[in-house]
Subunit: 387 residues, 2 copies
C-alpha cells in the first residue's frame, strides 16, 4: 500500500484541457484536468465505448488495484474479461469526477499558474459540469458516440444527466440505485456531514493544508453517518447484530469511565474503521463540493418541475435498476423516474432487485444485478449490430 | 424564556434519596435526586397513578410550559383535563430520567459532598437503573401500585422494563414507537452522535465546564443527524422538499465561496435550528450516558436471547403501538415484541397506526394515537373498576 498523505494531490493518468470548462455557475474554470482509466479496446468502428460514472466517494480505479489503498477496483466484480460489463467486447472509460481528489481538477488542485490550492475557493459545480468534463475527455479520445453510460448512486445521476445533456451521444443509459433529484432527506444527511467537517478543530476555514493537517475527525463522522445510510437495517443486523467486542461488564466497570464509549459493539468498531480508512484517501473540500453538487441535482428544475419534459423525444434506451431495501434512493423514486420516461415515450425497462443489502447493493455480490447489466448491454449491443 | 446557560444545573422540583441507588454496573450511586412533575390528583384509593416515561431528550415537563425553553410541555396535547390521558381521572407522574440534565442525578450533577461535577466519571447506567430510580420516587409518594406506565421511544423501553422488573406494580403498560432491544442501526446512529461530540474542540475530554464552554458544534451535529432519523422521508419532503431560502444562483455565485454551504435549502435551515436550540437545553455528557443506556437495552439478554421468557407469567395488560413510517423503531420490531408477548401468554393488543410522519408521530397530532391511548386506558380502568 502506498503511504500517500491525504494532503497529496497524487499523480494519476489524466488529460489536460487548456481551454478549461465553463461551469453552470458562470465561472470559467481554466486548465481542466480529467483523470481517467480505460479498460478493454476501442473497436475500429469506435462504437463500443461505455462510460462508467463513479459514485460520490468512488474514483476512476474501477477494475484494477487502487494505487493508494491497495484494494481491488470498486467494480472489479462487474467489469473485466467475461464479466457482466465485458472488456472483451466493450471499451470502458471511467473518469474521476470534476471536484474529486484523484487527479481531476478539484479543490485540492493548485490554482492555475499558482502554488496555491483551490480549497474553498473552488467554484460550486453541478452534476452537469461533471458530465461536461467527461464529454470533453470522450471527444478527445476520438469517440463521436458512446455505446452506453452506466452508473450507480451519484454515478446514476451522471448517467441520467448524460442522457439529458447529450441525448444523441449514446445508445443506452443504465442508472442504478439513483434518482432524478436529491430528496430533502438526502440533502439533510449531506448537510449533517458538512457541519461535522466545519466543526472539526483542524478545519481551519477550509485551509487545513496550511497547517499540515486534515479535518480527520469531522470527515470521519461524516463518513460514518453516510455509511449507515448505504446499508439497510437488515444488513446491519445480519452483519453485526448486538455482538460486542469486549465483555459489557468490563465496559461498564466504574473505573472504565470514558472506556465505556470505546469500540464495545462490533458495529461501532466497523464504522470507526470505515471512517478512519476514508480520511486517508478523501479530501474534505471535495466532500463539500461534491455533496453540494448532488444537492443541486434536479433534472426537472429546468422544466418547471415536469420531469418528462427533460427526456422529451429522447432516442436513448434506458434500463433503470433499484434495490428493494435501498432507503437512500428508494424504489419509489425510481418508479417516479420510470413513469416520467414512459410519459416521454422513452424506451425504458425497469428492474427492482429484491435484496436486503440496502443502497450499497450495486457494489456487492448481487447475481440479479449481474444478469440485468449483462442482459441489457448485450441486448442493446446485439440489436445495434455491435461486433 | 429563562436565559439559563447550558452549564447550569438548574433548580427543579425533586425528591432526594440519601440511600442512593445500586446501579447494574455494580457502582453504588450515593444521594440520588429524582426530579419530577405531577398532574391531576392521586385518588383516595391511590389506584389512579400513571407513570409517563419521557424519550431520550425529553424531560419531566409533560403538560406545562417548560421553565427553560418557554415552550409547551412535550405531551401537552396528550395529557390534561379531558385529554386522552385525562388528568381529571388519572394522577400523572413524570420523572427526569437518571442520567438526565433537568434535575435528576446525572453527569452534570455535583458529586456528593463535592463541588466537582460528575462529568465523564458518571457511572454507566441502564434503562433498568432509570426505572429503579422512578420506582423509588413512586413508592416515596405513597403509591403501592400504579395504574399504568406509558412511554414512547426510549420512554417505551422504560415502560417495558417496568413490566419486566416490577410486573406486579401496574395493571397496564403502553409501549409506543419502541423496541425490546436497540438494533445495530440504532447503536450505529448513536455512535456517530457520540463521535461528533468527541470531535468537538470544546469537548475537553468531557470537562468542558472547566473552560466555561459546551461542545456545542458536535452536540448540534449529533442532534441534527438524530433529528433526521425521527422523521420519515415523506415528512421531510412534505415539509421542505427542495425549497430554497435564497436563489441558488446567488449561492452558486463565484464570490460566495463558503456561502454556498450556508442555509440554502429550507431543510438545512430547519436542521440547524434544531441543533442550536438543542445545545441550549441539553448536556453533552447526558447525551453520551443516555445513548449508551439505550445501546445496552436488550430485554432478552438475561434469558439467552429468548424474549418471551422476560415476560413469562406477566399479569400486565399491554397495548403496543407502532407507526407505519417509523424506520428508527419499525413496526416489524413491534410485531416481534407482540409475538413474544403472545408466546408468554400475556394480555396484549397491538395497533399499527398508518402515518407518514415517522418516529416522531408519537409526539404529533395523530388522532388515531389519541383514540388508541384513550381507549386502552379507559378500557382497563373501567374493567378494574377505577373511579
Amino acid at each position: 500500500m502506498n503511504s500517500t498523505s491525504p494532503l497529496d494531490v497524487g499523480d494519476h493518468q489524466h488529460a489536460t484541457f487548456p481551454d478549461g470548462l465553463d461551469l453552470e455557475c458562470g465561472v470559467h474554470l481554466p486548465a481542466l484536468d480529467v483523470a481517467y482509466r480505460t479498460y478493454g479496446q476501442l473497436s475500429a468502428r469506435r462504437d463500443n465505448a461505455i462510460v462508467i460514472c463513479h459514485a460520490f466517494t468512488g474514483d476512476q480505479y474501477v477494475a484494477e488495484t487502487h494505487p493508494q489503498t491497495g484494494k481491488p477496483g470498486w467494480w472489479a466484480r462487474m467489469v473485466g474479461p467475461g464479466r457482466p460489463i465485458d472488456t472483451n467486447r466493450f471499451f470502458i472509460i471511467c473518469t474521476n469526477v470534476l471536484g474529486g481528489c484523484m487527479g481531476s481538477t478539484g479543490p485540492r488542485s493548485l490554482k492555475p499558474g499558482s502554488t496555491e490550492r483551490w480549497g474553498t475557493d473552488f467554484p460550486p459545480i453541478t452534476i452537469r459540469d461533471m458530465v461536461r468534463a467527461q464529454y470533453k475527455l470522450v471527444r478527445s479520445l476520438g469517440i463521436e458516440r458512446l455505446f452506453a453510460v452506466v452508473g450507480g448512486s451519484m454515478g446514476g445521476m451522471q448517467a441520467l444527466e448524460w442522457a439529458v445533456t447529450y441525448p444523441d451521444m449514446m445508445l443506452a443509459v443504465m442508472p442504478i440505485a439513483t434518482a432524478p433529484y436529491h430528496s430533502a432527506q438526502n440533502i439533510a444527511f449531506n448537510e449533517v456531514g458538512r457541519q461535522a467537517i466545519f466543526a472539526d478543530p483542524d478545519w481551519y476555514g477550509g485551509r487545513y493544508w496550511e497547517h499540515n493537517v486534515v479535518p480527520a475527525r469531522g470527515l470521519a463522522v461524516a463518513r460514518m453517518m453516510a455509511h449507515i445510510t448505504y446499508l439497510s437495517e437488515e444488513a446491519l443486523t445480519r452483519k453485526f447484530g448486538r455482538r460486542v467486542r469486549r465483555d459489557p461488564k468490563d465496559a461498564q466497570a466504574p473505573e472504565a469511565s470514558l472506556a465505556m464509549f470505546g469500540d464495545v459493539f462490533e458495529v461501532e468498531s466497523y464504522l470507526r474503521y470505515q471512517g478512519s480508512a476514508f480520511v486517508r484517501r478523501f479530501d474534505a473540500n471535495s466532500y463539500l463540493t461534491i455533496t453540494r453538487a448532488m444537492d443541486w441535482f434536479d433534472l426537472a428544475a429546468e422544466h418547471d418541475g415536469e420531469l418528462p419534459a427533460a427526456f422529451a423525444g429522447t432516442p436513448v434506451r434506458f434500463c433503470v435498476v433499484s434495490f428493494s431495501s435501498d432507503w437512500l434512493f428508494p424504489t419509489s423514486t425510481s418508479r417516479y423516474l420510470v413513469r416520467a420516461l414512459n410519459q416521454a415515450a422513452a424506451n425504458v425497462s425497469f428492474v427492482e432487485i429484491e435484496t436486503d443489502k440496502g443502497h450499497d447493493s450495486f457494489l456487492l455480490d448481487e447475481p440479479d444485478l449481474d444478469r440485468t447489466v449483462r442482459g441489457f448491454l448485450c441486448g442493446v449491443a446485439d440489436h445495434a449490430g455491435l461486433a
